[in-house]
Structures are given as C-alpha cells and as structure tokens.
Amino acid sequence: MRNIILLSILIAVAAAFLASSHPDGLEKVAESLGFLEAGVERSSVMTDYTVPFISHAGISTALAGMVGVFATLAVFWVSAKLLKKAAG
C-alpha cells in the first residue's frame, strides 16, 4: 500500500518537472477549430496545479500534486472510517 502511494507521489513530482506544457487533445482541437474562447477560465485553490504562494513553477506544481494525491486518498480513507463507525 505504501509503495503505491510513493509511486503516485513520484509520478506527480516527475510530472511537475517533466510533463509537456502543450495543450491537451481537447484544448488543441478547440484552439485550432477556434472555439477555445467559448471556455470559461476558472480559478480555485490550486488553479492549474500550482500552489499560489510558491513562485518556482516546478516546486509549486510538485506540491500541488502531492496535495492532490493525499486529498484523493483522504476521500476513501474518511469514507472507510465513517462506514466503520456507522456499523460499529
């Protein structure tokens, strides 16, 4: 279990430094066909996988990725605990 979590963090950190910054398939299609402007830009706590108070792009994204990995895990951890409690 710990290995998978480590692997996920490793992938997220590697992605922060190595991932392509080109638009993805849908974005590219929207751009080349000319309907990209129809999309609404939104912001959230970690918009575009960056932590707002860290200016170094790679480190910022690596941190955001780690937060995302743990937030995703937490959804299931908390659900398991709640289900256990409800039954207990």
């Binding site: 279990m1 290995n3 998978i4 979590i5 692997l7 996920s8 963090i9 490793l10 992938i11 997220a12 590697a14 992605a15 922060a16 190595l18 991932a19 392509s20 910054s21 080109h22 638009p23 993805d24 398939g25 849908l26 590219k28 299609v29 929207a30 080349s32 066909l33 000319g34 309907f35 129809a38 999309g39 609404v40 830009e41 939104r42 912001s43 959230s44 706590v45 970690m46 918009t47 575009d48 996988y49 994204t61 955001a64 990725g65 937060v67 995302g68 990995v69 743990f70 937030a71 995703t72 895990l73 959804v75 299931f76 951890w77 659900s79 398991a80 289900l83 256990k84 039954a87």
Partner: protein, 233 residues
C-alpha cells in the same frame, strides 16, 4: 479531456449531471453491497443492543475485506490523479494524458473503478479548476461512465478471446475514443462548433493519445499488481 465550463449548452450539461448522479448512485449501491455484509442479529444481542429496534431491517456492516477494498480504491484513484498530471507530447504542439478508466476497472472492477475515476474528476474540478463545475456531469459521463464502467465490459469481453494484456490495451484505446466521441457529441449538439469537424479532429488526435493510454495502462496495471497483489490483503 476535461471539458471547461462554456463548451456545453446548460440543457445538456444539467441533463448529464442528472445522468451522472444516477450512474454514480447505482455504482455506490453496488460497491456498498460488495464491501458490507448483513450483521448477524445475535451479535447485537450479545453486545446488549436493542435488537427490537432493528427488527425488519437488518444492518449491513463493513467487512474487513470491504475496508481493504476501499483503501485499494483510494490507492488506484491517487495513482490516476498523479498519472493524469503527466502530459506527454504527441505532435504539433499537442499533448495528451492518461484518463485511467480501464486502469481503474481492471484493478477494481466496474463499479468501484468508475467511482475511483469520478472521485479524481471531482477533486480536479473543485481544487485545481481542471474541468468545469456545470459540466462536471458531462466529464463524469465521458470519462468515468464510458471511459471506465462501459469499457470494463469491453475488456471483460475481449479477455475471453485473447491474451489479457492485449485486451487491456485494446479496451484502453477504445475507452479514450469513446470519451472523445462523447465529448465531441456534447460540444456539437451544444452548437459550440460544427459536430463533424469536432468529431473528426477529436478522434484523430485521440487515436494517438489512446495508443499511449494503452501502453501506460498496461505498465501501471503490472506495477500495481506487483506492489499490491490482491491476495496479500
């Protein structure tokens, strides 16, 4: 392939939100059934509980294996979240990234797999502004319902006739094409852009991205099975 707000007509996006809630509700019910067992009433009596209050509807309790299954769902979802961050270049200034639908259902089964992917999509939309809010239902239908749940049956059907790795690869490619087709249909029917042009471009780009999805899915299924074998639970 996360659709932002604004690409889809509200009538379609809210309709798909309803469909997504229904589909996920069904998946949740199936997973709940799988991770719990009917609690024997004697257990409550022995514990000094008021059994009469429970008469007529027996309680379901989380089993030990069920608890492990939920943790396993969390690990798969976390892995998919991380892998989705890794955009790889394809051509002409375009990148792609894993969706992970087939990865999820091969490791977790159709219902738990769909929930794992949907959870990733919700976390991405809420905290990372990746994918719109009004169109969250559309994204769930495209990537969790079609990309995971439906694709499970493609994988399961193919597996009977061929080498498992080949069935995983083909199902992964098809899952990306299904999600791309659905995305194009939603954009086309919304009148955002002409359907044939969107469909053609989307399928062409995602035929390449889908090939990468197949390879990454095979590699990650291998790694996951090695690191967290099912029997070790």
């Amino acid at each position: 392939m996360h659709i932002p707000d604004g690409f889809i007509d509200p009538k379609i996006s809210y309709g798909l939100m309803g469909a997504a809630v229904a589909a996920l509700g069904y998946c949740l019910a199936k997973v709940r059934e799988a991770v719990t067992a009917l609690a024997p009433q004697e257990a409550f009596a022995a514990a000094g509980r008021n059994v009469r209050g429970l008469a007529g509807k027996s309680r379901r309790m989380l089993t030990r294996l069920g608890e492990q299954k939920i943790y396993r769902m969390g690990m798969v979802a976390a892995l998919i979240f991380a892998a989705q961050m890794f955009n790889f270049p394809i051509d002409q200034g375009t990148s792609g990234h894993l969706i992970g639908g087939v990865l999820a259902v091969v490791l977790l089964g159709p219902f738990a797999g769909a929930i794992a992917v949907a959870t990733v999509l919700v976390v991405q939309a809420l905290f990372f502004a990746d994918g719109g809010l009004a169109v969250m239902g559309a994204n769930i239908i495209n990537m969790a319902f079609l990309g995971a749940l439906v694709s499970y049956y493609i994988y399961a059907g193919l597996k009977k006739h061929m080498w498992e790795w080949l069935s995983i690869g083909i199902a992964a490619w098809v899952s990306v094409m299904l999600a791309a087709a659905a995305t194009s249909l939603e954009i086309g029917l919304s009148g955002t852009f002409a359907l044939p042009a969107v469909m053609g471009s989307m399928l062409r780009v995602h035929a390449v991205i889908g090939a990468a999805e197949a390879l990454i899915t095979i590699a990650l299924v291998k790694a996951f099975r090695k690191m967290a074998p099912e029997e070790a639970q």
